[in-house]
Symmetry: C2
Subunit: 306 residues, 2 copies
Amino acid sequence: MEIQEIIAQRAQEIEGQIEPFLPKETGYAGKLYEAMNYSVRAGGKRLRPMLLASCHRLLGGNSSHLSVAMAAIEMIHTYSLVHDDLPAMDNDMLRRGKPTTHAVYGEAMAILAGDGLLNHAFTLLGRELISCDDEQMRSMAKVIAILSDKAGIDGMIGGQSVDVESEKTGSVITKEKLDYIYRKKTGALLTAAMLCGGALAQADDEKMKTLSDIGEKIGLAFQIIDDILDVEGDQKLLGKPIGSDEKNEKATYITYEGIEKAKEDADRLTREALDCLDTLCPDEADAQQEAAFLRELFLYLTKRDH
Amino acid sequence: MEIQEIIAQRAQEIEGQIEPFLPKETGYAGKLYEAMNYSVRAGGKRLRPMLLASCHRLLGGNSSHLSVAMAAIEMIHTYSLVHDDLPAMDNDMLRRGKPTTHAVYGEAMAILAGDGLLNHAFTLLGRELISCDDEQMRSMAKVIAILSDKAGIDGMIGGQSVDVESEKTGSVITKEKLDYIYRKKTGALLTAAMLCGGALAQADDEKMKTLSDIGEKIGLAFQIIDDILDVEGDQKLLGKPIGSDEKNEKATYITYEGIEKAKEDADRLTREALDCLDTLCPDEADAQQEAAFLRELFLYLTKRDH
């Protein structure tokens, strides 16, 4: 099977795993739950729960808390998209060809649905936490600490705030600031996914460090590819116009490094991530199979044409 | 000393306790941190951290995690105000006589500052959680579970969503729906404050149930008083125009029960809460003093003229 097919199949499985954690659309607040569920069900690669589950399996994990952690990280990713799309932010009416949450439910409900998804991620993890025995509790505690940190004000929200501020003020963005945005806005939550998988598999500090390194390299490569696609991509495959960064006078990796160096860097980062992955060298057949999947996934993400 | 003075003094102490948990306003995301801190520092009664600390002391607690829990609940309360004030919600430019967060920092940054405050509450609690020994970990886990639950989609956000939806659609609100909004929008987080204090003091299930009952009764009484003040209050003391509910055709407790019954109910709920408080009957002098403070605080909250 081609990697795209495997990814699509896993994404579908993940949607089945996440579904039971979505709120039932009943009661007075039914409309809120509907807006939350609409946002989560709107699709996407399910990359963060996929990475989480894959790293968990790679490291021989067998945690009963896997699904709830997958649901939580997908809810956090989804809330960030719902709020990003708001009129005061990117003002997008379509995402992946579907009306955005505020386009369907109105701006007020979209703000609350985003708040609800972020909060509910921690409600789900909090409920799971208090049901744990002492040994399990420590790895669930790590999941909460990792996720809240990487999604937070020195992680995803921090990166997003710098991006928004740079765009609004039209200030010239330095290479260092661009690095900050890339590392935080996208990289942090991808890294969190890998680390949460590791934490649930009770990985040791060294392995956690390796997962973190991989996440950062792949996150940055992923962003660089985004910039390259905006210059060289196929509009049809991308589902959005190319050249938008240049039109919006938005500084990207390519502004600073040029397109050839950008391609080299994306390749180099991917290779380095794969080397890191090799050092985790699992013995078991299951884990080896998972390492092979992750390798292909990383290559796919950094060679993708959309 | 008058209760107002004691409350003001405690509020000031609480501000000192919370301050170290606010982010330093440096680095690329400095503007985000500034907007968050502006929102938290804008004042208020600090009622939720006050209740949390008071219930903790009442039940003989001596937790080293008290301050972080106080900071977390105040951040969650603050984010809810920041998002409530947004143009798409209540569109308020002033709160307690000061420009609201979006009035100062713009709408996009206010959305992110709210997200940041909500997320940061869990970052602080998550960091504290992983630093705990096994015994402490269980009470910190309870704090996370309580706070995320009561602030969440079946708590504060749920209540807020029903309130927003009712106002936007202009649909007739039933007495039952109004009860839901009151219990969830304000009552849930007040109850969470009391329960978090109890959890940190390692209160048993019976005491936790009593705290929950008190929180619900006081929360509802507090809301009824708000409605009464909107009819009978002194505009100067309130700092906002009276009669706004009637002008906005907003159904309140008084729409259903009339003003006399509303006053009776607020009195009755307060008396019942005080009776519950008596059943917690602490032996130690410190705790007795704290019970006396809570009693006066509840009477103040439900007899207040602003």
